[in-house]
């Protein structure tokens, strides 16, 4: 069951990274910094959950430069870099959610937020791990994890 969603999450993330930020997937052995910058996005609705992203630091700058169509040597604020990173997470979560939950249910997706540490907050231990994906892109590595409360519980409620 989980493998199916792993593949879907990987496909959704690859498409979003490529079409929104022009970040292209590379062979897994490509040398790059390990993921250490992280953010999460929560959703509420028929059931609740969260998507978590961890990425190499270079990805934030390259994504922002590409999304804004800037030249490589132009100055860009860390605020814009974080905003681009959070928007990527928003697009990935928004596109994965209907793949998992179907396209009839209505969810409210909260604004993405940066996390101080690269580890998953403990509050999500009660949620079920649904999917995870790892991508090596031309600007670094990305890991995504999607947690949700049980759909069966939501249906019973």
């Amino acid at each position: 069951m989980s493998n199916q969603y792993d593949q879907i999450l990987s496909d959704v993330a690859r498409k979003a990274m490529e079409s929104l930020a022009f970040l292209i997937e590379m062979p897994d052995d490509e040398p790059c910094q390990q993921p250490s910058v992280s953010a999460m996005i929560r959703f509420t609705g028929p059931f609740n959950g969260v998507m978590f992203i961890k990425a190499s630091p270079e990805i934030l700058q390259v994504a922002a430069v590409n999304m804004l169509g800037m030249m490589d040597d132009e100055e860009i604020s860390s605020q814009f870099c974080q905003d681009a990173f959070k928007e990527l997470l928003n697009v990935i979560c928004g596109n994965f959610l209907p793949e998992y939950a179907g396209n009839e249910l209505v969810f409210d997706v909260a604004p993405a937020e940066m996390l101080d540490c690269a580890d998953l907050p403990a509050e999500f231990e009660s949620l079920e791990l649904i999917a995870n994906a790892k991508l090596t892109l031309d600007a670094g590595k990305v890991e995504l994890v999607f947690f949700a409360a049980s759909k069966e519980l939501a249906n019973a409620g």
Binding site: A16, M67, L68, E87, N90, G94, N103, E104, V106, P111
Partner: protein, 130 residues
Amino acid sequence: MSLNVLVVDDSAVMRSMIIKTLDMTGMELGEIHEASDGQQGLDMLEEHWVDLVLADINMPGMNGQEMIEKIRENPHWEAVPIIVVSTEGSETRIEALRQLGAKFIHKPFNPSQIRKMIQDMTGVGYEQSI
């Protein structure tokens, strides 16, 4: 005719991307206004004449759907063309937006989608291709 546009999205990067996309369409643009949530969007509409609204759905404070409902309740704005640019995947919510007269573009989008939809909704841009 030049278009005065209001872009409502809580992401400054996404607002910049949408504005850049509008520039790339080659359409004649007038004033471009930005807002980061639904209430700010309504405030902008109070202050400026706007020919087209591009709005996200999931935003802090007043979300895009609430903002569109309020726009349609106001006789001054009820006919303003609205394009929702969002990751929204729920057909239920998308249909509710269509019922409010809004068109929908899914993120990630490409510039030609936005250009075509603006042309269809406003007629602006067709004269350049004739």
